[in-house]
Amino acid sequence: MAKQYETVIGLEVHVELATKTKIFCGCSTAFGGAPNTHTCPVCTGMPGSLPVLNKKVVEYATAVGLATNCKITQVCKFDRKNYFYPDNPQNYQISQLYLPIARDGYVEIEAGGHQKKIRIHEMHMEEDAGKLVHDEWDDTSLVDYNRSGVPLIEIVSEPDMRSADEVMAYLEKLRLIIQYLGASDCKLQEGSMRADVNLSIREVGAEEFGTRTEMKNLNSFKAIARAIDGERARQIELLEEGKEVIQETRRWDDNKEYSYAMRSKEDAQDYRYFPEPDLVPIVISDEWIAKIRTAQPEFQTEKMERYKKEFEIPEYDAGILTGSKKMADLFEATTAICGKPKKVSNWLMGETLRLMKEQGVEVDDLKFSPENLAKLVNLVDSGDINSSVAKEVFEKIFTKNIDPDKYVEEQGLKTVNDDGALKAVIEEIIAKNPKAVAEYKGGKEKAIGALVGQTMKAMQGKANPAKVNEMLKEMLKA
């Protein structure tokens, strides 16, 4: 019988914090600036420059630590991690090795129908490196230091995950916690959340871990899942062939769906860490921790419970609405304006998700305002527009965030509530469709559908179909 293998996975997750400035200097952290415009002597490692710690970084890191049930290291320090690489102008990265800001935490995940705790070994603060752009033709690389010194936290899990599903659930959980805290936007594509996957395999039932590899360059949830499956298969193949897994760092190529051993930087694993002499220790007092704890927001699970209770939103819908901070914020802000939670939820769960899928829009890139959605809900509710017109208008809100009151007025989309006008049109339709009328009168109730449809068409959609139906029935009785 073939051997059964178990995958053992631990994650190192880097998260760029949502501060306005870098970790040790007053340069902007805005994404997408022209190359090297957000730089100064500190973040380009000029001799004699002095780093000064951004207080907000400590607050965000502490908040994430508390939210992931970690113990906060109340006296913590920075260390230098020495290595030579063009993206690192100081020739060392300021990081934390000996006294990381948080330790021994966990998050609870749900995967494959069961609950599980994923332990967090430690979490530390550090600075990001610059960005290298490789020229395909020129055999050169270009370095942009705008990202150099952007604050990061690195969250190191214990090797507690056993499948790609558990990894996804863990990452999703971290992302939600951190987004809800406002500590980062956690966009994998833009690199504000990055995961390195440590993976080994062992025979089911074995106690010892196998030799692990570390995979880098994973910038989407899908790439992570594929990389896990690919690396598991590669390691099993090696073992089955009687070969050994070598402990190394590998780079995942998502196009080729294969990982490659990264060029081994000679003895690069020896970083010769030592305490950072330019930065003084950080003392996080009980009061400071208490203050940060009090400021913690309502997290997803609590929010979900509240939506179910307070707004009578079903479990599934509450899960989707709270599945990203952006969606929850939209829901709450719109509901606060129009006071109709179920209708707001219907727009978000229905048309919003449909259009997102159709147009490939990510939730964080939704552009419409709660004000305009609230106006639309009210327009439908008051019977000023019917549901098919509303869908049309919503599409405009979704793409251009138009003001629906104005738009409906300008385009003349208001439902005609003038009974006289409607009656005249219906009379005409009845006269034109003797066959349908005869069928209906002969007991085929469905035949009325065709008449409603024709009336709506004649009204250019600006009638309330329920009302048309009602009036038709009334008039056909005669």
């Binding site: 415009t37 907000k56 050169t140 942009d144």
Partner: protein, 97 residues
């Protein structure tokens, strides 16, 4: 006293520091490092058991900045340090990691 730096150590430290040293330079560096270690050995004469290791001489902690942008466009100054530049970036030999 009398620390000895082996050939292997000098070789290894050279690799870590990305330095190519001539034989003469290696010998010189060995002597310098031995002297430094001997000097530091003085500390071994003190009993430091029960004393917290410290990384700073001054009893100062929590020196922070507020999270406010204080630097403007620093590109011109930064690029003055680039031996080679292209597209407003530092140009270096192709490096993929």
């Amino acid at each position: 006293m009398a620390n000895v730096i082996s050939d292997e150590t000098i070789e290894y430290v050279g690799i870590l520091a990305k330095l190519e040293l001539s034989e003469q330079e290696k010998e010189d560096a060995k002597k310098d490092m031995e002297k430094m270690l001997d000097y530091i050995d003085t500390l071994n004469e003190l009993d430091t058991s029960g004393i917290e290791p410290m990384s700073h001489v001054f009893p100062v902690n929590n020196v922070f900045r507020e999270d406010e942008v204080t630097n403007g466009d620093g590109r011109a100054n930064t690029l003055k340090n680039a031996p080679l530049q292209k597209n407003n970036s530092f140009e270096v030999p192709k490096t993929i990691g």
